[in-house]
C-alpha cells in the first residue's frame, strides 16, 4: 500500500518529462553534439582522421587547397577527434538538432578549407596549414612568431624557424643552484 504515496506524490508534482518540442529541454554544457572545425588552427596532421572509428573524417586535395570533411551522418559523436586534436581545431558544440529529411542528408557535413598560397620567401605554391611551435626545435616561440610562419612554404618554414631560434640562444643556467628543467 505504501506505493500509493508515490502515486499521490506524482499526481501533485505533475509530469517529469520535458515539454519538448513546445519548450526547452535539458541540454548540459558538456553535451557532445555537432562538431565544428576551425581551418585556421589546423596543421593537417590527420590525427582526427586516424582515431575516427566511423571514417567520418576525410582530407582531400582540391585545386583551391586541402579540404577537411566531417560527415555527421557517419559520426558517432565519441569525441576522440576533439580529444586528440593537438591544435584544438575541432570542437564539439551542444547542438543536438541533427534530425533531417532525406534530401538534406548531403548537407550534414562540416567543411573547412586550408587555402593554397604563394610562399613569401621562395614564391612556391603551398597549402597554408597552421604553423606549429614544434618547428622551432627547442626554442619556445611567441604566438606571433608561430603565426609569422604561416606565409612560408614548409621548407622555408624550417629555415625561418631556425633563424628565429638562432636569434634566441638557449639560456644557460649560470646559477648552479637553479634546478635543471625537464628532469623527472
Amino acid at each position: 500500500m505504501s506505493f500509493l504515496k508515490v502515486l499521490f506524490r506524482n499526481l501533485i508534482s505533475g509530469p517529469s518529462t520535458d515539454p519538448f518540442p513546445f519548450g526547452e529541454t535539458f541540454t548540459p554544457k558538456a553535451l557532445r553534439g555537432r562538431v565544428v572545425y576551425d581551418a585556421s588552427k589546423c596543421t593537417s596532421c590527420r590525427t582526427c582522421e586516424q582515431v575516427c572509428i566511423g571514417g567520418a573524417i576525410r582530407f582531400d586535395n582540391t585545386p583551391d587547397g586541402r579540404r577537411f570533411l566531417l560527415w555527421h551522418d557517419t559520426c558517432t559523436f565519441c569525441g576522440l577527434c576533439v580529444f586528440y586534436c593537438p591544435q584544438d581545431a575541432l570542437e564539439m558544440t551542444t547542438d543536438w538538432h541533427l534530425s533531417h529529411t532525406q534530401d538534406e542528408k548531403f548537407k550534414m557535413v562540416e567543411h573547412g578549407l586550408m587555402p593554397k598560397a604563394a610562399c613569401a620567401a621562395c614564391g612556391a605554391e603551398y597549402v597554408a596549414v597552421a604553423p606549429t611551435a614544434k618547428a622551432f626545435a627547442g626554442y619556445e616561440p611567441t604566438p606571433e612568431e608561430v603565426e609569422e610562419l604561416r606565409q612560408y612554404c614548409p621548407r622555408c618554414r624550417r629555415k625561418e624557424a631556425a633563424k628565429i631560434a638562432a636569434a634566441h640562444p638557449p639560456a644557460i643556467a649560470a646559477d648552479p643552484d637553479t634546478p635543471e628543467q625537464g628532469q623527472s
Partner: protein
C-alpha cells in the same frame, strides 16, 4: 499427456533483445529448454582487428550500451598492461566514478524491466524516472546518456572540477532517499514478491557448477566480485561491501542489484572525497608494442574478461572478450526447469542477459 514445443523469440514482446528459446512444455510446465544464439551477431571481434588500437576504444564502447563503460575500460586496461602505461592516480578514481555511475543506471534499468514483466507498470515508471537522475548525471558529466566516452588509453577523457563534484553530490543526495524507498517497495510489495519469490531458483551448488558471475552468482550466495577479488583502478583503496543473497531466485537477484546500486552511491561518495589532484592521462597517442595480456573488470552484469594480442602494428592482432552474460545464460536451462510458461520472461530477464555483448 503429451508435450509440445513453444518458440519464444527471437522476436518476442517480453524479450528486450533477440534470443531464441525452444521451450518444451507439458501443460503449463516447462520440461526442457533449448537456447539458440546468434541473432545479434555483427562481427565486432573481427572488426577490431581491422581498426587501430585507438579507434577500438570507441568501437568496444559500442558493443552494448548498458555495459558501454566496462568494455572500453577492460580494453584500455589490457592495452595499458601491454604498453606498461601506469594510470595516473586521479584517472584511477575517475574511472571508478564512471563505472559506478553506469552500474547504478544499468541495475535500475534491469529491476525496472522486472517490475514491468511482473505487470506492475507504476513501479516500472517510478524506477525509470529515478534512473533519469543518473542519466542526467551522465549527460552532464560526460556529454552522452549512454556512450559516456570516459576511457582512453592511459587515462580518462573527462575531469571533475569543484562544480562537477558538487553536481554529482547533489544528484546522489537526490537519488539516495528515492532508491531507499524503491528497495523497500521491492522488499515488501506483495504483488512483486508473489510473482518473483521461489521462481527461477539457481542453488548455490548449481551456481558453482555453471560458473555464473555477477549479481546472478551473488544472489545464489557466491561472494564473487572482481572489484574485491582482483581490485583494479582505485578499488583496493575503497570500501566495497559485496552484496549477496541466499535464495538464488528472481527476487534475490533483483534485491542484490538494488543493494549494489545503493553501495555504488557510497563508493561514488568515497571517490569524490578521496579524489587526488593531478593528471588525468595523456592527450597524445603512443606506439603500442607487441604483447598479449588478459584484463578483467566487474561490469554491471559480472566479470568481463578481455584478451588482447598486439604485434607492434597500429591494429591489434586479436581481441577477444568473455562477457558475463555468456556464463549466466547457460544457467537459464536450470532456472527454467519446471517453471511455468508465464514465468519464462521473468526468469530470462532476471539474469539480465546482454545479447549484444554475448553475440557481438
Amino acid at each position: 499427456m503429451s508435450t509440445y514445443t513453444i518458440p519464444v523469440g527471437p522476436l518476442h514482446v517480453a524479450l528486450e533483445e533477440p534470443m531464441y528459446f525452444k521451450v518444451e512444455v507439458d501443460g503449463e510446465t516447462v520440461r526442457s529448454v533449448d537456447i539458440t544464439a546468434g541473432h545479434a551477431h555483427r562481427g565486432v571481434e573481427y572488426l577490431t582487428t581491422k581498426r587501430s588500437i585507438y579507434q577500438n576504444v570507441t568501437l568496444t564502447e559500442r558493443i552494448c550500451s548498458l555495459c558501454s563503460n566496462s568494455h572500453p575500460e577492460a580494453y584500455c586496461m589490457a592495452i595499458e598492461t601491454i604498453a606498461g602505461i601506469e594510470l595516473p592516480q586521479r584517472a584511477q578514481y575517475l574511472r571508478v566514478i564512471a563505472g559506478e555511475i553506469k552500474r547504478i543506471a544499468s541495475h535500475l534499468f534491469n529491476v525496472a524491466i522486472q517490475a514491468h514483466l511482473v505487470g506492475f507498470d507504476s513501479l516500472f515508471m517510478h524506477v525509470m524516472e529515478t534512473r533519469e537522475i543518473m542519466q542526467d548525471v551522465k549527460e552532464t558529466l560526460f556529454g552522452n546518456r549512454m556512450e559516456i566516452g570516459a576511457n582512453t588509453i592511459g587515462g580518462v577523457r573527462f575531469d571533475l572540477d569543484a562544480d562537477g563534484l558538487a553536481y554529482l553530490d547533489a544528484q546522489l543526495a537526490r537519488l539516495q532517499p528515492i532508491l531507499d524507498d524503491i528497495i523497500t517497495h521491492y522488499r515488501t510489495n506483495r504483488s512483486f514478491i508473489d510473482r518473483t519469490r521461489g521462481i527461477g531458483v539457481l542453488t548455490h551448488a548449481q551456481a558453482l557448477d555453471c560458473g555464473v558471475v555477477g549479481p546472478v552468482a551473488r544472489a545464489s550466495g557466491i561472494a564473487y566480485d572482481v572489484r574485491v577479488k582482483a581490485p583494479y583502478n582505485a578499488y583496493d583503496r575503497l570500501d566495497v561491501p559485496v552484496q549477496t543473497g541466499t535464495d538464488g531466485d528472481v527476487w534475490s537477484r533483483a534485491i542484490v542489484r538494488l543493494s549494489e546500486a545503493r553501495v555504488s552511491i557510497d563508493i561514488l561518495r568515497q571517490c569524490a572525497a578521496d579524489l587526488p589532484a593531478g593528471e588525468t592521462g595523456p592527450r597524445e597517442r603512443q606506439i603500442i608494442p607487441a604483447g598479449q595480456t588478459v584484463a578483467k573488470c566487474e561490469a554491471p552484469r559480472g566479470e568481463l574478461i578481455y584478451y588482447v594480442k598486439t604485434d607492434g602494428s597500429p591494429n591489434p592482432e586479436r581481441v577477444k572478450w568473455r562477457v558475463p552474460s555468456f556464463m549466466n545464460w547457460g544457467a537459464l536451462t536450470l532456472m527454467l526447469a519446471e517453471a511455468k510458461v508465464a514465468d519464462i520472461a521473468l526468469i530470462v530477464n532476471s539474469v539480465d542477459p546482454c545479447i549484444s555483448c554475448t553475440e557481438r
